[in-house]
């Protein structure tokens, strides 16, 4: 009896320790990635990096200012398309959607979230790029928007569902229309949560590379019009890291540092905002 009890206790200790080990092991790659991105990225960053165009292959110096600007433009483009559409879809799902159509939309939202981003890329290529007969910032923005749309829609829906029913009833009892209720009561009280969701989605798409490869392509010049191909940080990281040139590897690490800081800052800010909103209630 006693031996059995000791064995169970030891086994207990052992398994519980294993979970601690698992946690520690998982933090190693995270630490390693952040460490290398910082250590190899920092030396590449200087004024030129943020203000100059990429140098010709073989020439030293140059920067990735066009890629930084390009990423911002692409994300804004995607947001301009996906955010209004996504919020409206979320409103439909939470406030009006009943029955078969709502179920289908909700289901397809989840399906779309699971579609590999490279597939979004080739579909936008065959619809937009082939139709316009050119790679363009617009096509890149559309590809990112398709990825962003279901995320915004589903978070909006979930957050609207958290708004107490009594608020809607109070507004309706005062004689407001459904539309007015949604606009001035439901959306207003859910605004913080929706903004958090949009920021998290933005952080997700800012680092997307695969959907841009065949849509926005890449560019060595400053972003032109919407119908011109455009540079972006993720695509530059990919192309530079797969060349044999040390100098370009250095720039790729620099670009990775800038991208990671942009993405993490956005998502951390979103989370902190969410926490403050929740705490404030």
């Amino acid at each position: 009896m006693v031996a059995r009890k000791v064995k169970r206790k030891l086994w207990n200790r052992f398994m519980l320790t294993l979970t601690v080990v698992a946690t520690a092991v998982a933090l190693v790659p995270l630490g390693s990635i952040l460490y290398y991105v910082a250590v190899r990225g920092l030396p590449a960053l200087n004024l030129d990096f943020f203000t100059k165009l990429p140098a010709a292959v073989g020439e030293p110096g140059g920067g990735l200012a066009n890629a930084i600007l390009g990423t911002i433009i692409l994300v804004l483009l995607a947001g301009a398309m996906a955010v209004p559409l996504g919020i409206l879809t979320g409103i439909y799902l939470a406030e009006f959607g009943r029955g078969r159509l709502a179920w289908t939309v909700r289901f397809l939202c989840d399906v779309l979230t699971g579609v590999p981003s490279i597939i979004v890329g080739i579909v936008v290529y065959s619809t937009v790029v082939l139709t316009m007969k050119r790679f363009s910032a617009l096509a890149g923005g559309i590809a990112l928007a398709v990825i962003m749309l279901p995320m915004v829609a589903r978070t909006t829906e979930e957050i609207l569902r958290l708004v107490p029913q009594s608020l809607r009833e109070a507004s309706l009892a005062l004689g407001a229309t459904r539309a007015r209720t949604v606009r001035s009561v439901v959306l207003r009280s859910a605004m913080g949560g929706i903004i958090t969701g949009v920021m998290l989605a933005t952080a997700r798409i800012a680092g997307e590379t695969a959907p841009l490869l065949f849509t926005a392509l890449n560019s060595r010049y400053w972003p032109g019009g919407l119908t011109d191909h455009i540079a972006s940080l993720p695509v530059y990281i990919f192309t530079y890291s797969t060349t044999p040139y040390e100098e370009l590897h250095r720039l790729a690490w620099g670009a990775a540092l800038v991208l990671v800081v942009m993405v993490l800052a956005t998502s951390i800010a979103a989370r902190m905002a969410a926490r403050r909103l929740n705490g404030g209630r």
Binding site: L101, I119, T177, P234, F238
Partner: protein
């Protein structure tokens, strides 16, 4: 007065209509996606038929397109990732949900979610310049010397290859599986644990016999969602897998996945047939990830229903 109420009604209908139209955009996107993939895949599928799935030669130059090496690479790299990520993720989830002191829980959960926020191309960069050299100089020679009699660990230590791809994928799907299973574990009612502990079980016995079985379908759902992510992951895999469409038992050998072949060859598509073969493999990937995701959602939904039913009682 009647006029005003009437106008309100019209506005309501209009608003519902506009939001409904927005919702239809999702349906529209999926239909366009399916149409384009099926339409584009047509020529290759018509030419090769079932051989497209079973053919072992993917050779754009000679216009031979058998997708089996790509399917093999996709499945094997994702399988390696699951083997590594599942035990780790469950360990972390258990630690975070059951054991960690409360001051440590939020910061740790936050760190794990940071892993999810890092863009996949940065994983690729890290994989290419940090993980691959490490595999080449330390891990693979060691594995080759000690376990080299297994076909899994034979061949020259190149660094790049199936093992590198599986490792990077494991790191990438770890946060998803962890955070979802943690939520599942947190949803298990306290009474389940207390009942076990009251019967004299140790902490671990309570977790293994009461908590884990209770959350089983939710945890399996989380794992399958992670699998779905691994199957479709493109950039990080493309950068470390070595990009050679071959079927080899050794994890040291380079391989190719459906997603990475598309990333590599799509813009340089030699001709109509090549492009069509790439679209056909994209269609295949779409169908696989669709099935995997639907399965996962069903399991997670069922889990939610079970726990909601309990908390209502």
């Amino acid at each position: 007065m009647v006029g005003k109420a009437g106008r309100g009604k019209i506005k309501d209908t209009l608003f519902a209509g506009i939001s409904g139209l927005a919702a239809l955009s999702i349906v529209f996107i999926i239909i366009v996606m399916l149409y384009e993939l099926i339409e584009g895949a047509g020529p290759a599928l018509a030419r090769f038929g079932w051989d497209f799935l079973t053919g072992t030669r993917w050779d754009p130059v000679h216009e031979k397109f058998g997708a089996w090496p790509l399917i093999y690479g996709t499945l094997v790299s994702s399988f390696i990732a699951l083997c590594l990520a599942v035990p780790l993720s469950l360990g972390i989830a258990i630690y975070l949900a059951e054991l960690a002191p409360s001051w440590l829980r939020d910061p740790l959960a936050f760190l794990v979610e940071l892993l999810a926020a890092i863009p996949s191309v940065v994983y690729g960069l890290w994989g290419l310049f940090v993980l691959v050299p490490w595999l080449r100089t330390s891990v693979q020679p060691f594995l080759g010397n000690t376990l080299g009699f297994l076909p899994l660990f034979q061949g020259p230590p190149l660094g790049m290859g199936m093992l590198a791809a599986g490792l990077v994928l494991a790191i990438m799907i770890l946060p998803i599986i962890t955070s979802l299973s943690r939520e599942v574990l947190l949803a298990v009612p306290l009474s389940q644990r207390e009942a076990m502990l009251a019967l004299g079980a140790t902490r671990w016995e309570a977790i293994r016999m009461a908590v884990l079985p209770y959350g089983r379908s939710g945890i399996i759902g989380a794992i399958i969602l992670g699998l779905g992510r691994a199957l479709g992951e493109t950039m990080a895999v493309t950068m470390v897998i070595g990009n050679r469409p071959q079927v080899s038992p050794s994890l040291f050998h380079p391989g190719q996945t459906i997603a990475s072949v598309i990333a590599n060859e799509f813009t340089e598509g030699f001709n109509e047939l090549h492009l069509s073969a790439l679209l056909a493999s994209a269609l295949l990937l779409f169908v696989i990830t669709l099935l995997v995701n639907v399965l996962a959602r069903l399991l997670v939904w069922r889990m939610n229903k079970v726990t909601q039913g309990v908390s209502r009682e």
